[in-house]
């Protein structure tokens, strides 16, 4: 009998306010040496924004022109897409599906609008919302980002306030009070979801009955 928990990977959405530390927590989870950690792959988004210093095509993002982006959307090649602060972001469906078929859990760090598109198109996706331990903590963390001026920070905070009201549409909440703790919770969620009966072929589980 093949162990349940193998097979097709999980489509995992991680949302939460800018500055909450989604990326850091996913990094910390992926750096562990457990089976669940080794199975994670980060989704690579398509975006119309310009590369920041150090960002590489096909590694950090697929950088596309607004025209190319619109054409991908039209052809139904995006699992979700959304505008955020003047730029387009989208998740390429075929790339994600290839990873899932290979058994990888694919993590999408996207905002609420995109998450809800994923929920509609893939009802079996696992939706996780990450919260800071407090609102003050979030403000401090955003203020610490030297690359952004105050106006952008304020816009991010307002988006965060609006988004957070949608938390009840998610499956799980992780409070990022400590990165290692939050990473453990993320991994626990992936492990538990793979053990869910609703994701299993129960007929196959019972096959060895007469063995």
């Amino acid at each position: 009998m093949r162990a349940p928990g193998n097979g097709r990977g999980l489509l995992v959405v991680v949302s939460g306010p800018s500055g909450v530390g989604k990326g850091t927590v996913v990094d910390a989870a992926m750096a562990r040496r457990t089976e669940a950690a080794r199975r994670i792959r980060r989704s690579i988004s398509v975006t119309t924004r310009k590369p920041r210093p150090g960002e590489r095509e096909g590694v950090d993002y697929f950088f596309r022109s607004p025209k190319q982006f619109a054409s991908m959307v039209r052809r139904g090649e995006m699992l979700e897409h959304a505008e955020y602060l003047g730029h387009q972001y989208g998740t390429p469906a075929d790339w994600v599906d290839r990873q899932l078929e290979e058994g990888y859990d694919v993590v999408l760090e996207i905002e609420v609008k995109g998450a809800m598109q994923v929920r509609r198109r893939r009802p079996d996706a696992v939706l996780i919302y990450m919260l800071p331990p407090s609102w003050q903590a979030l403000k401090r963390r955003l203020a610490g980002r030297r690359s952004e001026d105050e106006e952008v920070q304020q816009a991010r905070l307002e988006v965060a306030l609006q988004e957070k009201k949608q938390v009840h549409r998610y499956d799980y909440v992780i409070v990022n009070d400590r990165v290692s703790r939050a990473a453990s919770k993320l991994l626990a969620i992936l492990t538990a979801e793979r053990a869910r009966v609703s994701r299993m072929d129960t007929d196959r589980l019972l096959e060895w009955e007469n063995g």
Copy 2:
């Protein structure tokens, strides 16, 4: 803000064939030094069977006469109860609720009939079914129990066969291929369940919005 994951504990049911290693896996989970491990308490069942050597009243079981047992059932003091191989077993509701209120996750090792009673009375219970890696492995493990004669073993196998068809009524399946691995999965399930939005007071999560 108090971290989600605190508060009331989880009511957890672990079922699975005799000999699959439920007790060993729960022991291994409880022996870990993580937060999730320290929160587990084993339920103490009421039973009409005689104590085995070394078993202590109020620690391993509450040993009661058939008459006392029937009276507890009549007064609605059992969360579930079932006959198994000629003896009555039941879970005392008030003892369990006290542990849950203190924030402990209470693990009940009970068979399918009892699990379904718990499901009806406590829809928020987490139901886990433990399977051996193969049917042959289960037979070998039962044969290794010197305390039981072949007839009892055969009866246990037949109960297991009937019970296993109910696996789709459970929330999770854990295959006990290796005790430490199975214990990790159990702990992951508890951690994940505590992070479920459906178990949270989302209004309280949003309270710090204007803080």
